[in-house]
């Protein structure tokens, strides 16, 4: 952490996006996390993605639970809405907010403790319901705020800083999200912004629950030999199935790739994800194959990263509930309480 606020001065050549903002305008307060924390890199990736997508900061709501990861919304998008909820309860608060105002862009930030332990149930149901949001799980395998005990995502056999091996089975949040019906599932690494930023952009463009598990090393408690969530381990075992470009309609596609090495996925809102396959047999639109691939490679000790699954016919909670297009919080009292006569009519239809 640093005591000083980041200087206001910025690079003279820093450019503004279509909204007239520079990347620095998407920053938040100075981070109080430990120096070298992967979470700070994820914050920087979110800042970069939002700047590139010309997002208006006041159209974003960032919600989090408790933990190191859940502190980070203070460190990006300083002009957006925020809600630091109860431990593990970010999904339900976010679902409520999303139901009340469907027009905002919802960003849920959570950690492995917040999502895989105390909030596991909430996590599962959010995915099932397909709440339209981006769920970023900052996964370091330890409880950093309480001095580095193993979390539920720590691999069996991985060693703690003191050298003690973990005996519990890990929860694989990516597989769980797939099982629970998430329509956009990705895994990335805090140390690889080249992969992470486009994934965040694609997730923001996705309609429905978009889940990103980001391995984010804890420098203080989980970056030693024997850890399976250290910078060195992830770099050595990273099995990236693809790199992607996220393309909005107005952009011209100029990159040229050899035939058969790319897959284009057009999402519901017209945005295009162009995947450059690193692994020739990987098809991210096939859910069963994806689950197989993830499991088989995980068994080999590899950390599979990239966009793992995307459903381009995805739906979301509002569509499933057939709610009106106008956000509920914008409806007038007249529309919300149409009067006794209408109530009588509804009651009569149900008798």
């Amino acid at each position: 952490m640093t005591y000083l606020a980041k200087p206001k001065l910025r690079h003279p050549a820093l450019s503004a996006n279509a909204r007239g903002f520079t990347r620095r305008d998407y920053e938040g307060r100075i981070s109080t996390l430990c120096a070298g924390c992967g979470h700070d890199s994820i914050s920087a990736a979110i800042i970069q993605a939002c700047w590139e997508l010309d997002i208006e900061p006041h159209r974003v709501a960032k919600l989090s639970g408790i933990g190191c990861s859940s502190k980070t919304p203070d460190y990006f998008l300083g002009n957006s809405h925020g809600f630091n909820t109860v431990h593990g309860r970010m999904p339900s608060v976010l679902t409520g907010a999303n139901l009340a105002n469907r027009d905002l862009l919802y960003l849920g930030v959570s950690g492995d403790g917040d999502s895989a332990s105390i909030g596991l149930g909430q996590f599962a149901h959010l995915m099932r319901r397909g709440v339209n949001m981006v769920y970023i799980l900052e996964n370091n395998g330890v409880y950093g705020l309480t001095k580095g005990q193993f979390s539920a995502t720590a691999d069996k056999g991985s060693a703690s800083k003191k050298g003690v091996a973990n005996t519990d089975s890990p929860i694989d949040t990516v597989s769980l999200a797939l099982l629970m019906g998430a329509t956009f599932v990705a895994r990335s690494f805090s140390g690889d912004k080249g992969q992470l930023v486009p994934i965040i952009k694609a997730a923001i463009g996705h309609v429905g629950a978009a889940f990103i598990d980001v391995v984010s090393p804890c420098v203080a408690f989980n970056n030693h030999a024997g850890s399976t969530k250290s910078y060195d381990y992830i770099r050595a075992h990273n099995e990236a199935v693809n790199q992607l470009d996220f393309i909005q309609g107005r952009e011209e596609i100029t990159a040229d790739y050899a035939e058969g090495t790319t897959i284009d996925v057009t999402q519901h809102d017209g945005t295009l994800i162009r995947l450059h396959k690193a692994s020739t047999d990987y098809d991210p639109t096939n859910k069963v194959a994806a689950m197989n691939y993830i499991q088989s490679h995980q068994a080999l000790g590899e950390v599979v990263t990239g966009l793992l699954y995307v459903d381009n016919q995805s739906s979301d909670l509002h569509r499933n509930l057939n709610t009106v297009d106008i956000p509920l919080n914008a409806l007038s009292e007249q529309a919300l309480c149409p009067g006794t006569a209408i109530l009588e009519k509804i009651n009569a239809s149900l008798r």
Partner: protein, 608 residues
């Protein structure tokens, strides 16, 4: 690209833009921090060691440091008017507030070494040679045509910019080092001086001849036409106390600015500066032009003098041809007549300040001392030695008119040459600089310097009231910063000498530094050729004059590239680094001056 060799002293020296740009390589950020800490005497001494005349330079320096200052680049596109740190005026603060520093000056040489050195001309170059060599035991004799030492600083810089006391004090520090000063002695023959068997002769006689302007009417109206530098020295000595009401100053350099502002104080009511070239191309420093305009002196450009108009032997005005600039294919400028009729500006007096020339009529041409086609002595550019081995040159007399700080730099180098020569050492072997690089880490997030970057804009130096300053040529115009303003201004300094030092083997490539850097200076990327790498950085490095700091040896085989251009030296990269791969280290580089330190170690041992 290859890993940057940070052991090469020039690498980090270049990052300290101000110090690199200063001919005498004054450690600017070092003394600015001292000023911030209220250590004015310490700040003064850091200056005194490097540039000899801090109080004088703090008022009159040409400030090569300021256009180089990183602050100006950093503020670009952030603030409406990017400005460098007011380095020069901070120097003056140190001089104004220092108190008595005589006890800190070098002790008088306890024993003389029996070697005699003559310095011809009592200006900054000669005085620097005297200051460097007198404490070593040399017997120095300085000759000057004027009664007091100081040269151009005393005779041509007007008193409203540089009070006499300041010159007396700083020249005094040198003369009091048992230096023999012989005033009122114009040297007419170098041969005669050489015949007196001095061990070395240093010539620092300046560029004493002001250029004239030969256009019709020059001779007829001679009584009202003056050469700028001669007129300024006459004013300085009190020989001239008045000027006509309407004055035209010809020329666009700093001498022209001194002339017009002096004229304004001696009764000139309608004073104007007229230049051939465009306003932007004028040689005068921008701030001197501003100062003149501030005093109500218009600067008219693109006017080529044609005739002096006169009646009954008195000047009545000047005519000028209107021109415009045209550039040929090679970018060379030509002034072309606009075809409009010539314009007449009525005036009572004209001051010609269109340049200075070297003149050595007193050097006999049969001494073996060679001159080049431009009438300048043939010198070794490093040693300042002429073709007569024991004769050295420095200041304006060496390579043509420059300024005080260059004269000081020449003086230091010539003093080293003389000292080495008289100790029987090869003078082409120049001494290495004195280097000190040390981590500034004091605690987990504490540094020995203030790394909180100030957003202040450049502070304006207060001026004395115009009705007072325009009445007398002796009232100093600038008042200098008070202590509070000096502190605020000093905080604008980015401490560029506190270097970001990177150790690749410690780096875990967590991106912490990349994410926190407010100026997007740091990138981890694949190696390549420099032009290609420059384009691929987080913020493309377009300023080719600034180096890239490259380190390889990372686990991912990428390279760390730091663009030095707009680094704030805020140290956040080092604060965010979990492994100490980044460290903030103070790089103090000091020039070696004449004395035992400038001699080669092997020879020093022999002597002992």
């Amino acid at each position: 690209m290859h890993t940057t060799d940070i052991r090469n002293p020039d690498y980090f020296h270049k990052v300290v833009d101000c110090q690199w740009a200063c001919p005498a390589h004054t450690p600017v950020p070092e003394y600015i921090r001292m000023i911030a800490a209220g250590r004015y005497a310490d700040a003064y001494m850091v200056n005194w060691v490097s540039n000899v005349f801090p109080g004088i330079l703090g008022r009159t320096c040409d400030r090569p440091c300021e256009p180089a200052c990183r602050r100006g680049r950093v503020e670009e596109d952030n603030f409406a008017k990017p400005e460098p740190v007011a380095i020069c005026r901070l120097k003056r603060v140190a001089a104004d507030h220092k108190g008595d520093i005589t006890a800190r000056l070098p002790a008088l040489a306890s024993t003389k070494n029996g070697k005699r050195i003559a310095c011809i001309g009592g200006g900054p170059a000669s005085l620097t040679v005297a200051r460097d060599l007198a404490p070593l035991g040399y017997h120095i004799t300085v000759f000057d045509q004027d009664p007091k030492a100081g040269g151009f600083m005393r005779t041509q810089v007007p008193r409203f910019r540089l009070p006499e006391e300041v010159i007396d004090e700083e020249v005094g520090y040198i003369i009091n080092q048992d230096v023999e000063f012989i005033g009122n002695r114009r040297i007419d023959s170098l041969k005669a001086v050489l015949n007196e068997n001095y061990d070395a002769v240093f010539i620092g006689c300046g560029a004493p001849r002001g250029r004239d302007l030969e256009v019709p009417g020059r001779r007829e109206a001679a009584g009202n036409i003056h050469i700028g530098i001669d007129w300024l020295s006459s004013v300085s000595f009190g020989h001239i106390e008045k000027v006509g009401k309407r004055v035209i100053v010809l020329g666009g350099g700093n001498t022209a600015m001194d002339c017009c502002r002096s004229a304004r104080r001696l009764g000139g009511e309608d004073v104007k500066v007229i230049v051939r070239s465009g306003f932007e191309e004028m040689k005068a420093s921008p701030w001197e032009k501003e100062d003149a305009q501030h005093e109500g002196i218009p600067i008219l450009n693109y006017l080529v003098p044609k005739t002096f108009e006169h009646a009954n032997g008195k000047l009545t005005g000047m005519t000028f041809e209107k021109v415009r600039a045209e550039y040929d294919a090679k970018g060379r400028r030509n002034l072309v007549s606009t075809g409009e009729p010539n314009v007449l500006y009525p005036c009572d007096e004209v001051l010609i300040a269109v340049g200075q020339e070297n003149a050595f009529p007193w050097i006999e041409r049969d001494l073996g001392l060679e001159f080049d086609n431009w009438g300048l002595p043939v010198l070794n550019e490093k040693t300042f030695q002429s073709t007569v081995p024991r004769v050295f040159f420095g200041g304006d007399s060496a390579f043509g008119p420059k300024n005080i700080i260059w004269a000081v730099a020449h003086g230091h180098e010539a003093a080293i040459s003389i000292d080495k020569m008289l100790n029987g050492e090869p003078m082409t072997q120049r001494p290495p600089q004195h280097l000190n690089i040390l981590s500034q880490k004091m605690g987990i997030h504490e540094w020995s310097y203030d790394n909180d970057i100030s957003n202040d804009l450049r502070h304006v130096v207060p001026w004395a009231a115009a009705e007072k300053t325009l009445k007398s040529i002796k009232v100093e115009v600038e008042l200098g910063f008070d202590a509070a303003t000096a502190l605020s201004e000093s905080q604008r300094c980015l401490n560029c000498d506190i270097q970001t030092v990177f150790k690749a083997p410690l780096c875990i490539e967590c991106d912490g530094c990349v994410d926190i850097c407010p100026m997007d200076c740091i990138t981890f990327t694949d190696n390549g050729e420099e032009p290609d790498v420059r384009k691929r950085l987080t913020a493309p490095a377009t300023n080719q004059t600034q180096d890239l700091y490259v380190a390889d040896g990372l686990k991912t085989n990428r390279i760390m590239v730091k663009d030095e251009d707009v680094c704030l030296h805020c140290g956040l990269c080092a604060e965010r680094c979990p492994t100490g791969a980044w460290d903030m280290q103070k790089f103090l580089i000091e020039m070696t001056h004449a004395g035992p330190a400038c001699r080669t170690p092997a020879l020093r041992r022999d002597a002992a």
